[in-house]
Amino acid sequence: MAGYILEVKDIEKNFPGVKALNKVNLKLKKGEVHALIGENGAGKSTLMQTLCGIHKPCAGNIYIEDEQVTFQSAQEANAQGISIVYQELSLVQNLTVAENIFANRQPVKKWNIIDRDQLHEDTRHMLQLFDVDNIKPDMLVKELSVANQQIIEILKAMSLNPKILILDEPTSSLTEVEVNKLFENIRKMKNMGITFIYISHHLQEIFQIADRVTILRDGQYVCDAQVKDIDEEYLVKNMVGREIKNMYGQRTENQGIGETILEVKQISRKKMFKDISFSVRAGEIVGFAGLVGAGRTEVGRGIFGAEPIESGEIYIKGKKVNIRSPKDAIRQGIGYMSEDRKYDGLYLNFSIRDNFIANKLERFTRGLFLKDNKMEAYAKASIEKFSVVTPDHTRAIANLSGGNQQKVMLGEWCDIKPKVLIVDEPTRGVDIGAKTEIYQHLRNLAAEGVAVIVISSDLMEVLGISDRIMVMKSGELVCEMDRHEATEENVIAYATGIALDE
């Protein structure tokens, strides 16, 4: 057993009604990047949180360099050199970037007084690792986009100088550019002898960065392997228990693309986006690609009325509509699924049922009143339809795994019977099996004549699902491509602006 820097033996963890971990084993060699994969709700995050002293295991042991350890708190784990980037962002929105990265570890002068200059210096130093010069140490975290917040979260964990760094879906809202920067940093640190546990649902990333992989299913250890000995098919089979072919699905042959449903003319919003015009037809899936901060989210929210549009016009089925609020938009048949489920997507303290019905209460109303049995039946059906892993619909959504939360949110919006559905990062944190289902749901909607807009930072996803692709850069629509002309290279070229320089 020697030689392992960390070893987990027969760990078990129960939550009310859920056996999240069942005799799980994990062995880490010093200096490797060890990938951990599994479906949503397989227990990955739970396992990592037991390693970090957040959850106490119900059974089993943890060994660090052959010595048994038990952690009472996150801090004790930190002291042993384990640090983690949480799947759910855990930043303090009202504090600065610097204070988040060096939370409670700010450099101090005499009397424990914080040395501001040193703190900012250290922070700039950390920020250089990602070349992000648009983030300043004294910016408030709440002013940053989700992607940038994720970078801060990563820097925070890196700044702890850990021996073992756990990354729980660090790339779920990053684009390739940032992902590559992250990998560069991982390799650099790996050479310094740091060990990584890497969790991701982007399987190709495993092959780019990981040395070994452990697979979990339903809270149980399935197998582990050297990455160089296996292929993606192997991963999927062991993860999902079946093969997945053609994840993005296929446009059904006889499905024609119909009339123009949504037409956007020259909409602008100061500092956010400028002169955006495009249209989407019935049965069509249009993908929006671009780098982080390109303004795709802002356009989506603008059309939905969640944020003001300063000029421009929107037409639905040729009729000009005046959308001032999401309520107007929903009435016009437009749906928008947020990119940030925790912030403005879900009601975390509420039950799964109450989340499913949040945007369609009228449907369960007779006279003035809501019908309990109708709501329950609907929730049960939706759990089934979107394969949400949960004991029952009365659970608080906060207790679901990240991917399952995402499925509930998607289910909530797919089912409003929209004319236009905008989904922003629809598969953030979703496993490959569930992704396949989500794409199928989106394709089904299109087949029913809905105009679907997919905003995504996952380029493969955009390429795989879209009939047409829009590329945005710095608030402008720089290019519109047909599915057949779009390739990874030319989309990136437009998104980064290289194509324009030519």
Binding site: S325, D344, L361, L368
Partner: protein, 320 residues
């Protein structure tokens, strides 16, 4: 049946209900006067004014709002109606104007809080001062009397031997409970309190609802003020002082929180009942006034501790 029982005991209101029942049983042994019809009616009558306001307050707090000005609105609307009646206006017209004044005050509060984004605590504390001040100015510090017998009927007449304010409170609680728990319209407030940003994206007109909640609170406080004035037969300038804290406490004991997203009308009623019961018991037991203040606080604390203990035990069980 078992299912129903299981669900009952899981409800937050259940513990408070048990505590209230316990006090009832203990008190009926401790004091021969306690269970007399007269005492129970007196208890309910004393509690009716606060309950009327609590019904609106719990709705407001479910949506994440907060109103410190209700006590002043009680005084202001009472005084205004009193002066209007004395000026010769028909009673019904005066009452309608009084309720409109309350609604208008609520509207102003709601507008400032939700449209202008000012902290509800500061806003409504300012209102507290403003409308108390206006009451003093309007009445020149004098209580308003001579309101005539028609007006007094509202608060002093009886149906089936039970004085009107009790009836109003009962009606408010029953209708309020059904509406807040079951109606689609008011259900929106839970979503707003749960996650305001998400509620907006779910197509809820958050701004409108929030303002409406303040309007309702103002209107209900005005109604309570009018009923109280009628019951007492005079508009008191100091009416409702400190009322806001009592109502908010009752609502929180009943399961609501300052963060919004939870609470029920039944809970708010039970909270009010618990507080009134404590005071009633202390009076009946002849506890010295100096001790009363102490015992009220201690009992309040004890009640929420028992409640919390019950909750924790239930969770434990769920884990086992």
């Amino acid at each position: 049946m078992m299912e129903w029982l299981r669900r009952m005991t899981k409800m937050r209101e259940f513990m408070i209900f048990m505590i209230v029942t316990t006090i009832f049983v203990v008190m009926s042994f401790a004091s021969p006067y306690f269970l007399s019809t007269a005492n129970i009616l007196a208890l309910l009558l004393g509690l009716s004014i606060e309950t009327m306001i609590a019904v609106a307050m719990v709705n407001l707090m479910v949506s994440g709002g907060f109103d410190m000005s209700v006590g002043s609105v009680v005084a202001f609307s009472g005084a205004a109606v009193g002066l209007l009646i004395r000026s010769g206006l028909p009673v019904m017209v005066a009452i309608l104007i009084g309720i409109m004044i309350g609604s208008a005050i609520g509207f102003i509060n709601g507008f400032i809080v939700s449209k202008l984004g000012i902290n509800p605590f500061v806003t409504t504390l300012a209102s507290l001062s403003i409308y108390r001040g206006l009451t003093l100015i309007l009445t020149k510090g004098q209580n308003v009397t001579g309101l005539g017998s028609t007006f007094k009927l509202i608060g002093q007449s009886k149906i089936l031997g039970i004085q009107m304010p009790i009836w109003y409170a009962v009606i408010f609680v029953i209708i309020g409970d059904i509406l807040l728990r079951k109606s689609r319209f008011f259900r929106q407030n839970y979503y707003i309190g749960g996650n305001e940003k998400a509620a907006k994206l779910s197509g809820i007109d958050v701004m409108k609802m929030k303002i409406l909640n303040y309007v309702l609170t103002g209107a209900f406080a005005a109604m309570a003020g009018i009923v109280m004035t009628s019951r007492l037969g005079a508009a008191s300038v100091t009416a409702g002082t400190g009322l806001e804290l009592r109502v908010i406490t009752a609502v929180i004991i009943g399961g609501a929180s300052l963060n919004g997203g939870e609470g029920t009308v039944t809970g708010a009623f039970l909270g009010s009942l618990l507080m009134a019961l404590i005071i009633n018991s202390l009076t009946l037991l002849g506890v010295d006034v100096y001790w009363q203040t102490f015992v009220i606080g201690a009992t309040l604390l004890l009640a929420v501790l028992i409640d919390q203990y019950g909750k924790i035990r239930k969770e434990r069980k769920a884990f086992a």
